[in-house]
């Protein structure tokens, strides 16, 4: 996960504190509730210039930090190549 993503994520996680946010971190456990998930969706789309497609608009997309980053990175990747 890149630093920009984790710094964007941190204000939405009221229980995260200053600790590192790992890919395995479960966002609900760190305090992400449903309304904040919506705000996080808007923040991600605005910051990274992506639009999360319908097939990714499911609860599992927001389960872990790494899973959400994976979706963002996939959407940012140019056609025919990735950034990983």
């Amino acid at each position: 996960m890149n630093a920009e993503f984790t710094e964007l994520l941190r204000p939405f996680l009221k229980f995260a504190g200053p600790d590192e946010i790992t890919e395995e971190a479960r966002l609900r456990d760190l305090g992400l509730d449903s309304m904040r998930e919506i705000e996080l969706l808007f923040a991600i789309e605005d910051t990274f210039g992506v639009a999360v497609p319908d097939d990714k608009l499911v609860d599992s997309t927001f389960a872990t930090a790494g899973g959400l980053w994976g979706v963002v990175e996939e959407l940012r990747a140019p056609v025919g190549g990735g950034t990983r």
């Binding site: 204000p11 449903s34 309304m35 904040r36 998930e37 705000e39 808007f42 319908d54 608009l57 499911v58």
Partner: protein, 391 residues
């Protein structure tokens, strides 16, 4: 409520005095006095207690369509002008009927096709009334994730079951924009919008009673309502996100309306206090009463200040935290002003349409569209952002 104390002709936050006033209005992209004159002309001769007549008059005169100069969202200054004029002449319920449609329903229908777009065009013309059906009969309005109103999709069809309670315009609408669950997961992505004709087989409506006269508040029930696939409005899975963003506009509209109501009530109260004999003078001569009145003025001017930045913007979508702060401030200011107005006027407050009745109905500012407790929880989530840096 229908007492017609003249509304202030200009509010300090909205219309800066002095030689820069015209320039400021031009920069804001609106001529507030002109907007209000146009609204007054549109409503001249219209029964202010007839919500359909008011809605139709606003549509015919182009007032409703003119709220959206840039597309989907209402212009804050024009929205303020409309709500101020409606508050000055209509029962609270009629203003509520218009407010929810212009601030929430029409924007949610923008950018769509098919029946939704036709409904929106009908709304702008004042021909079509569309209710917003969100609060579920089976759960709390503050926790939409528990909603049980469900839609099942078939091949080009949709079937709706469930119910919605305390819905503005329920008993008078042509259609309802219904928030329905299309997936079982308790998640914001599990909901979609459906545009449901009020006359569709399986739709029934029950009045919620006499409160909010003119708002058509009622309960909607959906029993196996068969809809075409194009009844879905927007992208499935985005409904709650779209609603959350639009809630900010609705909260701004509520604050603008609350502000107009408080200015109107305080103007009427001041006039009454100055005329009410007491000893050898009037009630307004008494320091204790002047202080209580002044505290209301402070509260209203604080609400004015909170609204000022939104009014200076051509865009009506406030940040989430700003919307929640506006909502709480509006509710608390209305409560303070209406409570003090009742106390100061005493028995006179209980006349038909008096402050006592206004206070009872205006309690909705702390409930509808987000209860104050839920708003405060959300505000706390934004503590770092709101504490900010004043240096």
């Amino acid at each position: 409520m229908p007492e017609s104390t003249p509304a202030p002709t200009a509010t300090p936050a909205a219309a800066p005095a002095g030689r820069h006033a015209g320039a400021a209005a031009a920069l804001a992209g609106t001529d507030r006095a002109g907007d209000r004159a146009g609204i007054r002309a549109a409503l001249a001769g219209v029964d202010p207690a007839d919500p359909r007549a008011v809605w139709r008059a606003l549509g015919v005169a182009g007032i409703t369509a003119g709220l959206y100069p840039d597309g989907a969202q209402p212009h804050p200054g024009r929205l303020a002008a409309l709500l101020t004029e409606l508050d000055a002449r209509c029962p609270l319920g009629v203003t509520l009927s218009v407010c929810v449609q212009v601030a929430t329903v029409a924007p949610l229908l923008a950018g769509t096709e098919g029946p939704a777009e036709r409904a929106r065009r009908g709304m702008l013309r004042g021909e079509t009334v569309v209710a917003l059906a969100v609060t579920d009969a089976a759960g709390s309005g503050s926790d939409l994730l528990d909603a049980t109103t469900r839609v099942k999709f078939g091949a080009g069809t949709a079937t709706l079951d469930g119910g919605k309670d305390w819905i503005t315009n329920a008993t008078s609408c042509d259609a309802a924009l219904v928030l329905a669950r299309h997936r079982e997961s308790r998640h914001f992505t599990s909901f979609c919008w459906l545009l449901v004709p009020a006359a569709a087989p399986g739709v029934s409506t029950e009045s919620a009673g006499r409160a909010f006269a003119g708002a058509g508040v009622g309960h909607l029930r959906f029993a196996g309502v068969a809809l075409d696939g194009d009844a879905v409005v927007g992208r499935p899975g985005r409904a709650l996100a779209a609603f959350a963003r639009q809630a900010g506009v609705e909260r701004l509209a509520g604050a603008l309306w609350a502000r107009a109501m408080c200015h109107r009530l305080l103007a009427g109260l001041l006039d009454w206090l100055r005329r009410r004999p007491a000893a050898e003078g009037t009630l307004w001569d008494r320091p204790a009463i002047r202080e209580r009145y002044a505290r209301c003025l402070v509260a209203v001017r604080q609400l004015d200040a909170l609204c000022a930045s939104s009014l200076a913007s051509p865009h009506a979508v406030p940040a989430a935290a700003t919307g929640m702060v506006l909502k709480v401030a509006a509710a608390e200011t209305v409560d303070r002003v209406t409570t003090e107005a009742v106390r100061l006027r005493g028995a006179d407050a209980f006349r038909d349409g008096g402050e006592s009745q206004v206070r009872a109905e205006a309690a909705m500012f702390g409930i509808a569209g987000g209860a104050t407790g839920a708003m405060l929880a959300g505000i706390a989530d934004h503590a770092d952002e709101l504490v900010g840096d004043v240096s």
